[in-house]
């Protein structure tokens, strides 16, 4: 299908984008467009105005500052994939990126778009949750930071206000005892996951401290599995799998029971990755 008619404006600054969002309540922001244009084509979304933010300067780029990796919202997936800073200092993100769509999608898709769209089966929101990262947003009152834990509210629903946009994500840089794991199951490479898991931890003796499990594809948002985290901190993988209390619902791809089983399979794979020394 073809999109319904809409107007198009290029925002030259963050403030202009915020002002346009205020003036046109049903406007949508256009960043990479890899989800938005698909939903326009299917007429699942029919805004009167697209605000193209691709021309706003200073919204892309990747920097390491004070132990934090900050990735600008307009950074394309492919730029992050090729980034030495991401590879060295945010290896969980580096590991997740190749699972996002396909080359042609990652050439256009943006980091901020993946976060703001908040697809429950997407990789980056779960990574942000597993890393205890933050979203930087800009709105009429200026900039603010929102913890990942508080950002993902519901199905495609975030803590962003109606006139706010994501300008960057921030994740803590890797440290000596940091451990990461990532795995997902999809019917075809590049599809959204049936179930996926992004995890971070700190090695401590035979077990771990600060285990954070970010499951995706099992609920309305990426989900922590806190009872399983506690079991994994003791180094008890069987107990961690038994303690998984995700209760995924049936969807078009798989039944809830299948997803629950696959979540346990992924947890075992990721636990093995966490036990390997950081590379």
């Amino acid at each position: 299908m073809k999109p319904a008619p809409f107007a198009y404006k290029k925002a030259r600054s963050l403030d202009e984008a915020v002002a346009l969002l205020g003036a046109y309540p049903d406007a949508r922001l256009l960043a990479g467009g890899q989800s938005l244009i698909a939903s326009l084509n299917m007429r699942l979304s029919q805004p009167s105005l697209l605000i193209d933010i691709n021309g706003i300067e200073g919204l892309d780029g990747i920097a390491l500052k004070n132990g934090v990796v900050e990735i600008g919202a307009l950074t394309r997936h492919v730029q992050a994939e090729r980034s030495e800073i991401v590879a060295r200092h945010a290896p969980l993100v580096a590991r997740a990126l190749p699972y996002i769509g396909h080359v042609a999608i990652r050439n256009r898709g943006t980091i901020g778009g993946s976060i703001a769209y908040a697809d429950p089966a997407a990789e980056l929101p779960a990574c942000l949750l597993a890393l205890g990262g933050e979203v930087v947003a800009h709105g009429p009152q200026g900039a603010r930071r929102i913890a990942a834990e508080d950002f993902f509210k519901g199905l495609f629903e975030t803590a962003l206000g109606p006139h706010e946009l994501v300008t960057a994500i921030r994740v803590p840089a890797v440290r000596a005892m940091s451990r990461f794991g990532f795995a997902e199951l999809a019917r075809r490479h590049g599809d959204y996951a049936l179930v996926g898991l992004a995890a971070s931890a700190r090695a401590a003796g035979r077990g771990f401290a600060n285990v954070r499990l970010g499951f995706f594809g099992v609920g309305a948002t990426p989900l922590r599995a806190k009872r399983a985290e506690t079991a994994l901190e003791r180094g008890d993988v069987d107990a961690a799998v038994a303690a998984l209390d995700l209760n995924p619902l049936d969807d078009v791809q798989a039944s809830g029971a299948v997803k629950q089983h696959l979540a346990g399979v992924l947890l075992r794979r990721v636990a093995t990755q966490l036990m390997e020394a950081a590379r």
Partner: protein, 162 residues
Amino acid sequence: MSDLRLDISLIVNGESVSERVDARKTLVDFLREDLGLTGSHIGCEHGVCGACTVLVNGEIVRGCLMLAVQCDRATVETIEGLSDSGEVTDLQAAFAQRNALQCGYCTPGMIVAAQDLLQRGGVPSREQIREHLSGNYCRCTGYHAIVDAVEAVAQARAGGKA
């Protein structure tokens, strides 16, 4: 609002183009309907099938997931441009020779994506070829012949035998 139609200027297959387009027109519709470049095909129109793969500023993209207005001042190359320049003649021949196409609907997108991999140089593994073409669907061939063709061309370009 007055921004339902906009003027754009871009370079398509080496030629300057200036047109007025609907804001809602996708790049692939612009190429096919306004410029008559019908080699880029429309399959799913939501970014899944890869039949509309073209190059924008040297990178492969989905022609159905970009708007024509976003290509103002961009450089676009399509299968017609790659064919005319002779850049993909060997790939096209290998596809024909190895039955890597049956209905041919996915072939322009396949060739553009395969060339994107091969122009990086070296001989990619079959796994890398499959990974790079994973966003391009073929409903006829089962992919083996396509991977064979791309691998053969990679080897031939690297100086081995096809």
